[in-house]
């Protein structure tokens, strides 16, 4: 047995390498990445929560597309709407301090308080007019998620295309495209967003998101370009070219799959940025406009009543934060999963398992 510490360290290191090698034996790159991601506990928990939030929001609120004149609506299961006003609002669901519209959601089980777990008629309470707050928050969250998805997809597609072309062709094309990117980057996002939002905010959330999407690809384009600059010098690209592959084929079949990690990670960051941007714009009055609903708008509307009816402030904030937090954690998990240098920490349990396996093998 290894007695002196140096030798011991050596064997430990060797064992660690063996353990991590054995884990990736016979797996494809995709499978390895998938496994690494699944093992990232925070990221997996966030993914599950995010899926749950999205399902809950869209099923409760339904889907609202189209303009005011030609609405395209798929109703959700939640019975109350954002325009409906409860006539008994002034006297129902009184809080301890006598303010009406208190949330009826009760998550404390019956052994702590007598009432037990229950949803009640208005789980998130009612606003000062008597509109069901769950309906309002769900609609706001629906809008925010739509903005997030549209901006994310547009940013990824535009950014990847611009970055790929600039990085692959280089030279004049690269110079022109990158100067263009710089031009957009010089302008703070919120400045562009405000101009766009003030003009397109009242058209509904989809045009707003599309316009924001046109101005949010720059960061991603830069990342992708850097990645392409290094990848195009690699041997496999030369090999593909010698084999007679066209530029398009090289870009899409050979380089892009290798740059996908960077794209996905930057895309998630873009999405969490988009949800904060949209809520900030709406808060400032430059985004989604009343009577339409958005999470930022709800917060700006009810921030002054914080002392009287704090739930009107907490719920929309809670949704913004949980969505953004989930996205950030997923992004972190993806970054770790795609990073080839990332080594998993070998825990005691792994060592025991590994030594069991080798004993059985022997």
């Amino acid at each position: 047995m290894a007695r002196n510490p140096k030798e011991l360290e050596k064997t430990v290191e060797k064992n660690e390498n063996e353990i991590s090698l054995r884990e990736t034996e016979g797996l494809s790159q995709g499978q390895i990445i998938f496994r690494r991601f699944v093992r990232h506990r925070a990221a997996m928990a966030s993914l599950i929560s995010l899926v749950f939030i999205i399902l809950f929001v869209f099923s409760a609120s339904g889907l609202h597309l189209g303009s005011d004149k030609h609405p395209v609506t798929i109703p959700g299961w939640w019975p109350h709407t954002i325009t409906e006003i409860d006539v008994n609002a002034a006297t129902s669901d009184l809080c301890e301090n006598g303010i009406p519209g208190c949330p009826t959601l009760d998550i404390l089980p019956s052994f702590i308080d007598k009432t037990g777990v229950g949803f009640g008629a208005h789980p998130f309470g009612m606003d000062n007019l008597g509109t069901d707050y769950l309906a309002l928050v769900m609609r706001g969250a629906e809008q925010s998620i739509m903005v997030m998805l549209i901006v994310g997809i547009m940013g990824v597609v535009l950014g990847a295309v611009v970055g790929a072309i600039a990085g692959f062709y280089g030279g004049v094309v690269d110079a022109i495209l990158m100067r263009m990117t710089d031009m957009f980057l010089v302008t703070p996002v919120i400045v562009l967003g405000s101009v766009i939002g003030y003009r397109f905010g009242n058209l509904g959330v989809v045009p707003l998101a599309v316009m924001l999407g046109f101005f949010s690809w720059m960061g991603l384009a830069r990342f992708v370009r850097t990645e392409f600059l290094t990848l195009r010098e690699r041997e496999f690209v030369d090999a593909a070219r010698v084999a007679g592959a066209s530029n398009r084929r090289i870009i899409f079949k050979h380089i892009l799959p290798n740059a996908v990690g960077v794209i996905i990670v930057a895309g998630t960051l873009l999405m969490s940025g988009a949800i904060l941007l949209e809520s900030a714009l709406s808060y400032l009055g430059f985004g989604v406009q009343s009577p339409d609903v958005s999470l930022g708008l709800l917060i700006s509307k009810y921030q002054d009543t914080f002392t009287v009816s704090p739930w009107l402030f907490w719920w929309p904030g809670l949704f913004i934060i949980s969505i953004a937090l989930c996205i950030n954690f997923i992004g972190d998990g993806l970054r770790d999963a795609f990073d080839p240098r990332q080594k998993r920490r070998i825990t005691k349990k792994d060592r025991i398992k590994a030594s069991d396996v080798s004993k059985v093998g022997a």
């Binding site: 919120i190 101009v195 937090l325």
Partner: protein
Amino acid sequence: MRQGCRGKVGKLFAYITRRVGMLLLIVFGASFMVYNLEAVSSDPLADLQQSTAVNKQFLINTLSRELQLDVPPPLRYFTWLKGLVAGLWGHFDLGMTRDQHPVVEYIATAIPTTFRLVIGSTVLAIVLGITIGMVTALRQYSRFDYSMTFVSFLLFSLPIFWVAVLLKQYMAIQFNDFLADPTISPSFLIPFALIGGLIMAGIIGGERRRFFTTWAVVAVGIAGLLTLMSMTKWFIHPGLGIIGIGVFAFGFAVAMTHLSTGLDDKKSLNASLITAGAVTLLYYPMQWVMNEKGSLLSVVEVLLIIQLVAAAIGYFITKVDRRSIMRTAMLTALLSSIPLIFDRFMQEFGAYMNSDAINGRPVPTVGQANQILDPSQSGNFWINSLDGIMHVILPTIALTLISFAGYVRFSRGSLLEVLNMDYIRTARAKGLTERTVIVRHAMRNAMLPLTTILVNDFAGVLGGAIITEGVFGWKGMGQLFAQAIGSYDLNLFMGVFIIGAMLTVVANLVADLLFGVVDPRIRIRK
């Protein structure tokens, strides 16, 4: 040799001119784009069209002429650009706002306000963020690392306006209520002390036993200190006094020596401790200096005197390794003068709080200065500055919370990357102490990529200010911008935009050059 030197300078000069030319071109393109975007998407006549005034048509015509609305936006842009370019020979002209006021004047008053709003939080976020980020990297996969990762992700996901509302409620309104009767209740004291101890224990780390001991000691310490403060009504009459300054100074002395040269270096430790003692002894003389003048100059004087004393101590204590010892002593002195100056502000707190304008509620929720401060006191530099500090507290906390997460993540990643480098292993193999390896070899190199981030963040200040100023009711660049959009004021809008864009461009240039200076691996190519 001389030839080579001149060649180098010439090359650098050519590089800078090329970069500046390119950047100017970018600013030109961006401003052209934004100008037209805003001109097309806004209609300055909208509110007039709906007015019921008798002379409606006349008003519309006047405004159209004043704003040159008959000229198509792309051409109008060049008349605007002419005023900007005229700035090169001193006739800076960004046009008139809609109320016939020069844009330049508006901006000139707004810039200092925005600067005051962001400077404190930027410095705080950088210092705190880098410190915590590096500690998490050194304690990778520890409890502290995991919890800080979570906290920084949480802060990443917070909308600043949401944080602001909470701060207003809990840090301003409830704190002011608390000041009416400043006794800390146990229901606040116990959790606070426990959490404080937990954080400290997490930073120090160690085995389970040591962890719990640190936790207990720190928690008891915090609880004791708070009880003492509560009993002596410290919150109404705050101050550090000579004892508080002494505690801080000696603490800084030990910490700085530990970081800078290591506690084994007795000469260095002695120099710092003597400096700390000197700062403590200088407490009363410095009070006199500060009372005598009562202006910003006296603060500068205090800083200079203390620095000189520290330099002298470092110089005379040894002949060997003078530079590093002097540096340690001077850093200790610099840190110790911060509580010394803060103490002076605290001394005015009682008078400030009892003035009619404040009426016992010193933490404001909105505004940048108290307009109705007692005229007999408004000439007092200390009271005025204290008023400024009180107003900047909440925005600073909000901005710091939002931006420091980025520094934590970035400095953590940067240090981890450096720690895996070969030269770190070499340094360890040479038998250098862990302190030297970490501080001299790892941290310095980990700071390199941070310079770029720092400079770029500074440029992004305008974007952050738009929301923060709105929430806290400050009249800076952000408010001007919001006003410009809301009233379709194209010239005002472009004025704010061009300042922001210029800042970004200059920051980028500085970042490029700075990076070349601090990192010899990166040299200007071609």
